[in-house]
Symmetry: D2
Subunit: 357 residues, 4 copies
Amino acid sequence: MSSVLGNKVKLSVFGESHGRAIGCVIDGLPAGIQLDFDKINREMARRAPGKDKTATARKESDTPHILSGLLDGITTGAPLAMVIENTNTRSGDYGNLMTVPRPGHSDYPAYIRYGGNNDIRGGGHFSGRLTAPVVFAGAVAKQILEQQSIAVGAHIKQIGNVCDSSFDKNNIRADFLHSISEKPFAVINSDIESEMRAFVEQARLSGDSAGGSIECAAAGVPAGLGGNMFDTVESRLSSALFGVPAVKGVQFGEGFGFSEMLGSEANDGYEIKNGKVSLISNHNGGVLGGITNGAPLVFSVAVKPTPSISKPQQSVNLQTMENEMLFVKGRHDPCIVPRAVPVIEAVTAFVLLDLMM
Amino acid sequence: MSSVLGNKVKLSVFGESHGRAIGCVIDGLPAGIQLDFDKINREMARRAPGKDKTATARKESDTPHILSGLLDGITTGAPLAMVIENTNTRSGDYGNLMTVPRPGHSDYPAYIRYGGNNDIRGGGHFSGRLTAPVVFAGAVAKQILEQQSIAVGAHIKQIGNVCDSSFDKNNIRADFLHSISEKPFAVINSDIESEMRAFVEQARLSGDSAGGSIECAAAGVPAGLGGNMFDTVESRLSSALFGVPAVKGVQFGEGFGFSEMLGSEANDGYEIKNGKVSLISNHNGGVLGGITNGAPLVFSVAVKPTPSISKPQQSVNLQTMENEMLFVKGRHDPCIVPRAVPVIEAVTAFVLLDLMM
Amino acid sequence: MSSVLGNKVKLSVFGESHGRAIGCVIDGLPAGIQLDFDKINREMARRAPGKDKTATARKESDTPHILSGLLDGITTGAPLAMVIENTNTRSGDYGNLMTVPRPGHSDYPAYIRYGGNNDIRGGGHFSGRLTAPVVFAGAVAKQILEQQSIAVGAHIKQIGNVCDSSFDKNNIRADFLHSISEKPFAVINSDIESEMRAFVEQARLSGDSAGGSIECAAAGVPAGLGGNMFDTVESRLSSALFGVPAVKGVQFGEGFGFSEMLGSEANDGYEIKNGKVSLISNHNGGVLGGITNGAPLVFSVAVKPTPSISKPQQSVNLQTMENEMLFVKGRHDPCIVPRAVPVIEAVTAFVLLDLMM
Amino acid sequence: MSSVLGNKVKLSVFGESHGRAIGCVIDGLPAGIQLDFDKINREMARRAPGKDKTATARKESDTPHILSGLLDGITTGAPLAMVIENTNTRSGDYGNLMTVPRPGHSDYPAYIRYGGNNDIRGGGHFSGRLTAPVVFAGAVAKQILEQQSIAVGAHIKQIGNVCDSSFDKNNIRADFLHSISEKPFAVINSDIESEMRAFVEQARLSGDSAGGSIECAAAGVPAGLGGNMFDTVESRLSSALFGVPAVKGVQFGEGFGFSEMLGSEANDGYEIKNGKVSLISNHNGGVLGGITNGAPLVFSVAVKPTPSISKPQQSVNLQTMENEMLFVKGRHDPCIVPRAVPVIEAVTAFVLLDLMM
């Protein structure tokens, strides 16, 4: 199990859903960065649950406490350590017996991988709650990127069969990305919000859950980041993005849409604009040959439906080795997509920071 | 630029399209493995060009010469180094002047990244030719995996608007995968071959190129490989797969199809079968929580259309900084998808070997 | 700045001497290990200051609090996070102005490296206090190694001109190593203790400090660990050992003594003993060609005198750029060697665990 | 077995003593560097054997052939691959039976580690011959460092009981280091040469070998390189230096001499000189807290006597598991120290380059 991300800046995430605390250590941050905690807390709030019916009703205290690496609000260059206390855990003794694995969850493979020793209470280290430290790290990264005029923003592209507008790939500005981040429900086309919410509510009422996808972009990324062959920007980003629970697909630019395109449609021509080399279109999502080309970075990720549903499911009892129907209880997100938006942004910002160093 | 792949087994790829040689060093291979060069050469031949009209007419000598790491055909545990001489390069002095970058290629971002020093003849180190050492490494990995009853195989899932059948995700056997690998044109549904070829031929005749997608599977993968959070099987595989030129998307199991699914449709239930835990379906493509669950590993990759087309394209002259129409000459693959099939398999086999160590 | 150690098991250390807390995250520990906290606390106590006059009179609360990775005292396979609160820090505002760098300390190079942003209070992240989490990690590693019959122990080899006996390199048993660890003053030859203490006391009274060396051994290490060329056991160990503050030399077996030996004296012959291959001598300290040979691992490290002395020293004022005499105040260890013994053991145990995985 | 060195620039070494070729791949070199092959060949010649009686009489063709990464003599940013053909190997079939391991060599531990599959002809991948690609990589690194006014040089500090003068640690200039490198026998005090040679000759005549030590320095290293805690300059350098066959100790500045020093003797004071912060002495060898302090980098390494001696030695027969006397034949270096000088420089240059990137 490796919960460490990054090459030059290293993020080490720890904690379990029902353990004492979750948190992270960020090693290799540049010294001398003044951190704005209002901004950090705003990002934490974007991910926090309990805001509306698309998310679980659980309340979590997501206040990050800094243990090291900061002096008078400025990074020292030493590892930045942060903890979030787990306050809302239930005290009952689970006994850590995982007898009936939940379909779609890590329960069964983790049982094999860790010999039944992993903490399964609330998903343990596999819990979506572990994305809180990731959002913290991303919030720190965003502030450093901002100084270099790089902005990262994402939106809900699809939930169920309801789709939002897509980014205008070759024309994405920082202020536009910020305006989306400020929305409580991150869609470009606000008219679609109620329809999406209705879809999720219907899934929730029927004891089910909904999947979707998220489109993310970074504006202001300079040309020349990344490299060939196995250190492409796509490699770095996808590797990190698949670390976000429920992400099952990553595509850059037109992605799987390229399958039906001709080269003449897919290639992005060049032109001189204001004395600079500029791209006429951005089908490739800002990356060519694994290296950024100066156009906005644009990609999308597929998010599978929350595996926790209240409908009965076929499973097995690992003790008796017999089939057993499973009825999952508890408070769950009927759709994780809205809360995953700031997480995807955070991962992207962290990877970009690592690439910029 | 990092052309190094892997954690415990490290693949270091070198060479340029028109340089003296291409090759690789594989560091960390287990000692005592008898290598079957007939099998290796068969894999090399699958990738080699010049076989039919979907590929370039160039002839390349893709015979791997072992420099070290092998004694009497058996691995010694020391780095396995291999070279392939470049025999079919043209002698003309390119002068390495890259004045008009080709749209869709790495030309422009590489120009920025390497300050104009990168070898652009035939794409240099960015050339698809560099996948030959990758196929070699994959062929070695496949032989080691075979001893552990793991088989890897892929097929052309789509070219343009023509689609092949998909794998039956929960029922993929080694011999089936081998039977596909032996086909000169790797599709499950042979009836579709002529239609796909016709699509490519039409693109070729109009000076254009076609994209597509490839579906890959691994049978026999044990449960418990990989880990959470940033060392998931998906992270490792996607990172490597995006190292293959033209790959722009990677999705596991239903991938982007999950967006429109409900949890009750997406979750894979469990049942006891022959006294063992077994999955009822395999929508998740054999990975849950980043860890293999014992079902076949199934994923697909999007392949963009070959950027080299003979149709005129809008570009710029980097010396004069003026717009300029570009007419690309030379012999190119009108569709890279068929030749990319063994490359995707090779990358997959190498990553699985690294995970198994 | 990278405070991350290890390949398969990763130790990430954080904290500053006068910050809120110090601690570490250990990523990649095997699941299912029952941790004995009595043993851990005993190791922590060995390193803790305030025990006698060779060490600083400061009292530090070195109680490790587990935040994650442990359930009912058993490792879960998830990252093990631990914090130690800093209780004995002084509240005065240092203002973080580092004007007159202390000779022999990291002050000046860290000022350059971190642009004056590093926390200099008590040495910040460079403080010897940061070895507390390292001792914790080592205590965990020792327990896992113990299950494989590997024991690690070290002793004070030299302080000033007073020398302890050396290990009998080819005959080191686990119980012997344990018996040394239990001593409050870790020397083989107890008669030498008072002489060493007297040397340190004399240095202390004259406002000075003393250096020394530590010899460390590991018994029960199997043959075949490590590898050639840049992944030798010596490479791994030395890299980690030089991470311990004040260590300025590392030598294996006879080390620098080899300079005056002939090959016939330095080579360790083989013999069959109890039906097994055995070494007749162990001049090479248990490593040949970078790989363990089954003999005990034996090496020693040089520890420079504590740079904090109360004698006046020549320094400069970085603000005025003028020469300035420096008078260092505060409570310091007149000799760090005794407290460094468990730290050297801890680093060794952690590296061995990483090699064994 | 990992023959890969470096973080940002990666050196992958391959080959065996009696295999087809040896060589290396350097991944991550900056683009646009004009390489001077006269300088490279001069470095290769410094390491090559057969020059005098301190070394083996074998002749080796150490001409590096570039396979990739260079265009018109300028680095392209793509991996730089180099091979040296093995021309002087004997054709006899060794059958790879390693029955009687040579004392002091890697034979026995490698037999265990690689299950008897490693190539033992001439030491295989463990052969000192593998330092030829390292010298090549160092020669490349030196040229890049030179552009930043950094020079690396080393000398024979000791052979047997004969000692050379030491570097004046706080006063080492580039031209002085170059002047030593140009000597066929690298000592500061030329008067000592004949005595050292006599010592080696006497060892040779008695079928024995001699050990020694090498002192190395780098002038012009800027303050602020490296970092705390596990990424210290000492960690990086020692890890790489222990990859050189026969190196058994590494010490920085006074190293083990610190054991007998007081803090007031060991600390290096500061003074303002020509308006800059300067060190009054350099006992710490240019590194404090793991970070360079602007003084010359100075360290020394212990080199054990060549294990290949013609005197009979006690060993065992691994097939019969009985004791057996061993008589080693062949041409060997009676003292490896002189030829190791350019290797130590090369490793140092490569690590410094990696740190500078």
